[in-house]
Amino acid sequence: MSIIPNILFAIILIAGIGYFATNVKKLVRNIKLGRDVDVSDNTSLRWKNMSMIALGQSKMVRRPIAGFLHIIVYVGFVIINIEVVEIIIDGLFGTHRIFSGMGSLYGVLIGAFEILALLVFVSVILFWTRRNVIKLKRFWKSEMKGWPKSDGNIILYFEMVLMTLFLVMNATDVHFQAIDNGNVISQYIAPLFSGLTESTLHIIERGAWWLHIVGILIFLNYLYFSKHLHILLAFPNTYYGSVKPKGELDNLKAVTKEVQMMMDPNVDPFAAPAEGDSTEEEVAKFGASDVQDLNWVQLLNAYTCTECGRCTSECPANQTGKKLSPRKIMMDTRDRLEEVGKNIDANNGVFNDDGKQLLGDYITNEELWACTSCNACVEACPVSINPLSIIIDMRRYLVMEESAAPTELNNMMTNIENNGAPWPYNQMDRLNWKDE
């Protein structure tokens, strides 16, 4: 027997996994461009969040139809991939259905895979219909034009093709059909090929087998370029997601330091920084105008976003026709991060200022000022993404670095500064209500 197919298989496998590994490295490097943030607290709660939200899909089912279909595709995806283990062993060693020796257990496994494959196929068709025929509003917002729209459909086509190939592969496997063990779905597909000779069937079976595994490798490598990364990143993202009450915004440490200096009469503002005190440079900028100013969890958020648009559909600003879309905030952050990553790749590992930034070139002030900080987007996200934290960090840059708040907000802030209330009332009149 020729070993050429086995060698070819090994090469394809190594190339497929190798290229994916290179891109994962790039992904990790890009995420690490973000500022450091301490996420070492509440370990047990974090594990719980990950197992409930990512593994258990607890937030997906808040929208029952999409949630139910998603669980089928998710479970199907995870379980059917057990079959890939057999395919890899067969491919490398020239065996055929190496696990079939397990007897009836094999039948149960393959039978389950076949049922799931059919269910996944049907679910994916329904997903496609929701996007393209029913045209659910959230899939047709302005940020979903062009690539994001194609991306969503390409993923669905991939899944349809892979499931079809898996079932065709089983249906045309004469030996597998003859044993009649586990061919619960494929036995009904087999008759479609009944007129063909055994050698033709063998060619079709081999063709489906090869396309199936090559398809899986292509899909794996497609992830990095797609919103579909969530199938991997949902897990770390739900782990690192906030464990604080949603209403709590972080207190900027750099500001705390300055405020302490201002309030403490004993502090010498001209004192030289203590030995080894390197915070001086880190506090050079307040808030965020570009992706490097965000923390790495926010950047992980951006790569995790699968553009489902639940955030945007719950956003009060978006619902009332404002430009703000929390999903777009995440998509812009990822796009800019990718652009910065490519810039670094092209310049031997150093970022070369390209005169662009997240603020202005991607996200406009108008979007940022439309946010009511209501946390509906944070609540809606099925994988613990927090668009609000990015909005607030960018507002911080606008206000503290550029003094670019809307005039009315500047008035409000001046009032607080001068008389301790957002309106121009004297602090000495604070208790007047009791006598009115």
Binding site: K246, G247, C374, A376, M394
Partner: protein
Amino acid sequence: MSELIKVPTMAEYMAQGKQPDVLFWVGCAGSFDDRAKKITKAFVKLLHKAQVDFAVLGTEESCTGDPAKRAGNEFLFQMQAVTNIEVLNAYEVKKIVTACPHCFNTIKNEYPELGGNYEVMHHTQFLKSLLEEGKLTIEGGKFKGKRITFHDPCYLGRANNVYEAPRDLIRKLEAELVEMKNCKSKGLCCGAGGAQMFKDAEKGDKEVNVERTEQAIEVKPDIIAAGCPFCNTMMTDGVKAKDKESEVDVMDIAELIANAQDL
């Protein structure tokens, strides 16, 4: 209303060498906004009725810094926070109650890291605890059988997971509690949060408060109950915009309870 109500201040307590059980944090809206002042007074009446030993900071109170922080001015926020914490700690305040979810959220969640550690309660939680301790009784009175829908303030609900305290109080009024399409964790914002209260909205095709008011009107309530002075303003404006002032009232939970007993 021109009747005088007794509102002791922390300074007066201090002068007598005493310490109240709880500090009532009135907030800027509660102190200055004409509509919100009524909520403040209603709540004070309930505190007196339940014989709660309380005091306010009065002229020593200052904005928590919430709108500044959410507008992006972290400096101003922390200046306000540190100043307020200094005052609160000087009076050795342990427990704070407030009728404003924004003050509630800020003092409860954002002050501890800056040195301000207090037990903080929203007034609906506090009233519920008074009820449970038997210090306060709630009768339906004129609200018996009325349809009341509760608008969840973002900074009480989603921000801090308080959904039941205000609803429990409404049920005690023997009123019919009806829920809007979007309620509890899915509640729709009134449009005032994140410093929006103090500016015009960005260009769009509708005001957020009108959208929310429409959701409320859909369930045909007699009263829209609120638990936040800003939500109250937004919903009141929304009801006006929909020309429903004669049919629908917007009232704070504290006002409902106080009015039910003709306080």
